[in-house]
Every structure is written in C-alpha cells, then in structure tokens.
Symmetry: C3
Subunit: 311 residues, 3 copies
C-alpha cells in the first residue's frame, strides 16, 4: 500500500515515519517546481484551513495561510487567541476541536502550553497540525529545516550539523534534533553552560548511535560543521544581565565567524533573529535563513494537502 498521511494529525516528528518524511519532502519539492513554473494550483479549492494562534507567530501563521491560498483554498483565523477567543471564557481545547471540525478541513494550532495540539486533536475528527506548543514540539519547523538542508547541501546523511545558541529552551532545536538524528547526521552542540542541550536528549542521541560533540566555542565548532543552525539567546532566560551581555557576544555570527567556517557551510536560523547573526553575514552565499523561511511555504503546502487527501 502506498504511504499516505490522509486524515492524520501532525503533532510531533516521532509519529511521522521515514517513508512519510520522504513523501512530505517529495510533495514539497513538486509544489515548489510548480510554483517556479508559474502554474496555478487548485488542489485545495473549496477547502478551508483554520489557524488558531494562542501565542504570536507571524511567520508560522502567515506561511501556513499563504500555503493554503497557493493551493486554492481559503482561510479562517484566530490570530490572537489570548485576547479574542472563547479560551477567555474557559472553553477546553477539546471543545474547541469539536467546533473546528465543523468549520474547517484542517486546523493549525500554536499554543504556549505543551500538549495543547494533542488536546485539540482529541476533540477534532479533522486533521490538526501542531504549529508549536510550549517547550514541546514544532514539527513543521523541523520538516522545513530538513527540506532546507537537503536543498542547500544536496543531501542530509553524513552531514555534521552544529546546533548553537539556546539549546535548553528551544522547541525548534528539540524537534529538529529528533528528526535529523533519524537521517544519519552527526551533531555538534554549541551553547553556554546555562543553556546547554538537556542531558536526556544528548544521552538518548548517543544511545541511539548518533555522534554528538559538545563544543562550547563557536569558532571551533564552525570549522567542523556543514550546517550551522543558530538560535536566539533570550535575555529573559538570565538572572544576571551582565552574564547575558557577555554570552550574547560570544554567540554572534559575524563575517569573521564565516571566515573560520568549513567550506560551503550552510547557516540556518528559525528567525526572527536579533543580534545573533550580523546583517553583514546576509551576503554570504551559504546564508540560507531567508531561503529557509521561504521553504516553509512548499513544506506546509505538502502537509496541508497530504493530511486532507488533496496532494
């Protein structure tokens, strides 16, 4: 039987099989070619996407909405769930899921609390896609990151990928590491002590036979990396502002960093960036973070159409 994601929720990367990951990558690539050729896609004509965002995220919300519109579908949206939704009246996400199944063919939820996407999915007979829930998962980011690596580097297996910045709190790096580990990469973890990758994740990766090096120095790390995946270090994670200022500077990618890097290194970032990648780096050929953001559209087109059977 052919692989299919029809009717499926996309809640985490663990529940997507390798074969399904390939299907998503292939479908996204097909949509990207179709758009490059200027074709109009109408796969989701007559279908409706609901975006429920209980936490601000311009990039994730807009890229899902654009993905739906480019497939000929329509969108309904709660852009600021905290302020304007029934959540204020105490409705459970289970009940919200029951409502959404009447209104939309597929729902994307972003929520500050881990497990929220699963709760919504429990209520809804229609597919739910997790657009990021708390410190939990952000599976569509992990998939578009994988898509970007394959596009930029031509492959993923055997690459050395440096995850740098805040590895403790980032759902993006946690989801991403879990997915990339299955693709046969080697990891370098580059973070301040206070923001190191949680021990459990590191140990699980090593137990699974993944090569993991912990290299706190960014310059040393980039010399060995095919992909540098930067994340933002947030001031609010630090009790001591001076400590934040000190660390921030040692985790900034500049033209000097790039000079020390391995040839053809790809630089990625989930965005928004603040100061962790200097604007001067944007001109570097391997600076892929804006292309990465753009890749969110075909990957999300693939997901929306696959779970609704419209691919």
């Amino acid at each position: 039987m052919a692989t299919s994601l029809f009717g499926r929720d996309i809640l985490d990367v663990q529940s997507i099989s390798d074969e399904e990951v390939r299907l998503i990558m292939d479908t996204a690539a097909r949509y990207e070619r179709a758009m490059d050729n200027g074709g109009r896609l109408l796969n989701m004509s007559g279908r409706t996407l609901a975006t429920l965002f209980y936490e601000p995220s311009t990039r994730t919300r807009l890229s899902f909405e654009v993905a739906m519109l480019r497939l000929g579908g329509t969108v309904i949206s709660v852009a600021d769930g905290q302020v304007s939704s029934s959540a204020k009246k105490g409705e459970t996400l289970y009940d919200t899921g029951k409502m959404m199944e009447s209104y939309a063919d597929v729902t994307v939820i972003r929520h500050p609390v881990t497990g929220s996407a699963a709760e919504l999915a429990a209520g809804s007979s229609k597919p739910v896609i997790n657009g990021g829930d708390g410190a939990g998962q952000h599976p569509t980011q992990a998939l578009l990151d994988l898509y970007t690596i394959i596009k930029e580097q031509g492959k993923v297996e055997g690459l050395t990928i440096c995850l740098a910045g805040d590895l403790k709190n980032g759902r993006t790096v946690h989801s991403g590491a879990a997915l990339l580990a299955r693709m046969g990469v080697n990891f370098i973890f580059t973070a301040p002590d206070a923001l190191a990758m949680p021990d459990k994740i590191t140990k699980d990766l090593i137990a699974a036979g993944i090569k993991v090096d912990v290299i706190p120095d960014l310059d040393e790390a980039v010399a060995k990396s095919d992909v540098l995946y930067m994340t933002r270090i947030q001031q609010e994670r630090f009790d001591d502002p001076a400590e934040y200022e000190r660390l921030k500077t040692s985790f900034e990618v500049t033209n000097d960093t790039v000079k020390k890097a391995k040839k053809n290194m790809t630089i990625m970032h989930p965005l928004p960036r603040v100061t962790e990648i200097k604007v001067e780096v944007d001109d570097y050929k391997g600076a892929a973070y804006f292309r990465q953001a753009a890749n969110g559209v075909p990957v999300r087109m693939a997901l929306l159409s696959l779970v609704t059977g419209c691919e």
Copy 2:
C-alpha cells in the same frame, strides 16, 4: 409576492415574520444537503462579507466567515474592534456603517452595547446582521437554535423546552425564548433565584398564551422536557464566591441528570461550556450541542445569501 429578505437588516427576531423564519430554515436545509452531497456553492462569488467584532466571539465570527467562504464569497474582518479599530478614535457606529457600505455587501457586527447593530445599520445602505449586542439580541443564535430543535426533534410545535442556567443575563435565551414562543412551544424556566428569567419576559409570554412553568430543580425539570437548553452560570455575576460554587454544582448536567430525563431529550448549549455539562454527557445520543454549533454554518449561509439576494 414571494417572501424575500433581500436588502433587509437582521437586528432582532421580532422583525422576522413566521414566513421569513420558514424561508431561512428551508434555505439552510437546502445548503446543508448541498454540502452533504459535496457540491461547490458559488452563490456569493464576487461578494464580500465584513465581520466587525468589538467583543471576542470565536464561534460566531468563524461560523459567519466559513458560511461566506462556502458560498464562494470573500471576507474582511476586524476581529478585535476594541484594540485595533477606529472606534478608539471616537468614530460613531453610524459613520462606521457609512464606511462598510463601500467595502462590503453585508456586515456582521458583535458589540458589547445594546443597540449597536441598529446604529451601524442606520449608517449603512447595505444589510447589517446583528451577531450579538450587549444584553440585547442575538438573532442568528436564536435561528440556529430553532433549526437544531427541528432537526433533532423533527418538529418544534408542542415541545416542552427547558431553559436552564443564567436566564437573567443571557441574550441567547432572551432572543431564543422570543422566537420559540411564536413556534408554539411550552417553557420550563430552571434557574437560581438570583439569575431567574426577568419578570417582564415571563409575564409577556404568559400574556401571549404561552405555557410557562418555573421549576428551580434541574432533575425535576428534565423529567418533563423535550429539550434542555443549558447556559453558563458566570462567576462574575455573584458577590459571594461560596454562593456561586453551591449553585454551579446544582446546575450541572451529568450522566445522572440524563438518566432522569424524558426519553429522547435533546441537550443544547450555545457554547462555550465550562463545567455546566460534564464531558461524560457528550456520548449521550441526544447531546446536540456540537451539532448545534455546526448548524450555525448553514443557517448563516442562508441569512447571508437571503439578505443579499444570492440565495
């Protein structure tokens, strides 16, 4: 001449004739069948709905927007009028109505102040639909409730309908009671003393020849009811938190409540619910509240298309 709602504002249930109510019910049923058959409707292709929400209401807003999209139309929206609209600059709703008539073919307004929908309608030469204004009216909820009762019970005339919970403050039950009264139902009112149906409404109903029983005990009431219409008891209505806790518990629908109910009783709720209907009740065959929410779509499709002459 055939009944028509073309060009009409939908501000309250009183100004909709019985014949017009039938037209709305029939049109909604026709759309529901068309959607069940998988047909694409394009009745409102090229038309635009504006949703102006000066008070949060996910369910009402999204169901109107979905209704418009399913008819092939487009939507513009002010989802959080308090925060982001010209209202902050002191514009009257009359002037806002003048603006909306240039932008949209039909406008839905939700507002915390009674009479707001009428003020907007006074400014607009295009139809305005009241999506709930203050303690005033919520006519589209009343219409979808009627549609639900007819679908669930096969008829409405002669049924005994128990309105339970907060009967004092709920615009839903006030609009609903006014419409149902005309359909030949009998009422049971079940509420804590502090939240009883306003005397004027009860007296007017009795004066109009409607049978009204006031039965404060929920178990006793359900034994005699064909339809139980629950509403939420809001903590903020009570000065004494202990009083709220006590009453809340005696107005909760549980599996025990259902066991004491009349056979085939339909349970409705405008949603969102908090604790007034336990999740365990969701599996009861007559638990119609989620179907009721879904019925909002065809009923609102009927209203949008009828007032614009696109039915």
Copy 3:
C-alpha cells in the same frame, strides 16, 4: 516607453511623477467604471497581498484588502502588529521585508514610526506600499484625496483648497499638500496657532510659487474655498483641556458654516471624524467625505495592480 509603476515601492508622493499620478488616476477610474458595470475583475487572481498594521487603522487596512479581493486576489494580514507579531521579539523591519517577499506579491505597511515603510522596502524585493508611517507620509491617502477632488470638482488645477484643523501633526495633510501643490492649486491654511502648518512646509510651498493664504477663521476661509479639507483636532495635543474645548468648537463645520461657503464647495475629511463635522452636514450635496472613503478602493486597486504589473 510607456509609464509604468511595475516593481515600484510607493513610499511617498515625491517619488511619484506627474505622469505616474495620471496613470494611477486613469487606472482607478477604469476600475471604478468596471465595478459600476458589475463586471468581475480577476487581474490579481493567484496573487497575494500582505497587510502589516503595527498601528490600528480599520479604514486603510480594510480598503486595501477589499481592493485586492475585488481584483480576484487573496490577502494575508497582521491586523495588530504590536500585539501579535515577531516585532515583539525584536525583529527588524528589514528582516520582516525579507520574510514578506517570500509570502506575498505586494505588502502594505502601517507603522507609528516615520521611515518604517522604507526600512521594510529595503528588505523586500517585492513592492511595498506605505499605508502611513508616523508623522511621515500617507501617499495612498493623498492619491485618493486627489482622485476625489477631480471627481467632485471636475478638475484640480486652479482650485482653492482650504486645509483646516490640525495642520501640525497630520501626515494626511502633509502628504496631501505636497501632492496637490504640484497640481497647481492655491492653499488656505486654517488652524489654531498651536496646530499651525509647520513653517518649513509653508515656506517651501511659497518658494515653489504656490499661493498660500493663512486664514485662522473657518467662516472666512470657506467663503473663498472650492474644497474644504477638515482634519480632526485631537485632545491629546493640548496641555490645557479648556483650550482644547474652546478651539474644538471654533473648528466645527455646521450647517451655518456651509451657508457661508462658496457655491459648490466640496467638504472632505480623511475620517474618522468626531465632532469636527456635524452629522447635519452629511445631507449637504458637497459633503464628499464618505464618497472619499469609498474612492479609496479603486485608487488602491490601481496601486496594487500597477506595482505588480497586473493592471
């Protein structure tokens, strides 16, 4: 070579040539006729507009969105940028521009800080339209105002135009004056001393050979004006509430004002109005402010389609 705005940002009125202004006026008039004839336009089918509003503006945002929808295009929106966007995380508008170029064919931005539209445009390879930035420019308002004057008066050259109210803080009057000056009008400036037109603007106009009369009295001014362009006097501009109350009254247009006006005077206002034009004036034949708001749609249709090459 024919005049074209293809690929252009619309950041201010200064960078639009007279020939380009005529192209915008002609294109808007063509769309208005097409809509009056009931035709469906599909010029922007398959294209997407992004509206990024970091400051509330119902009228500007909705009229752009309606313009896009009437051309057959689709819309993605950040209606309340302060609350719900990546701006909270410290992203620059340059980076936001990089994001938008992947998602939309054209972006409209409203922002409280002067220069924001240019910053977004620097990041985006796709056209950006300034929907008002701080005390800076509001070029699409200036263009729709010009369109309105031509429609109402049959011409613009040689007309005497009275700008009245708050001439100090209004970006609308500053953009508008700059554009109208090039069209050969004469100005009357009518404002309280505290809210007078900035000296630099007045001197520049006079240096450019424009006739400018400063007439503080509204009745005296309207007797000589073909167009009265009122703006709102905002209470927050005054330290002394009593001063505000006094001035507010002397800058109110009433039926008495209209009696003293030149024959066929056109009254305009960017809206929203509060008390500066009494509702009684709405019935005056030359009261054009609601028609002016409606003209925003064809003018914005012209801009959206011209910059994307879809006209």
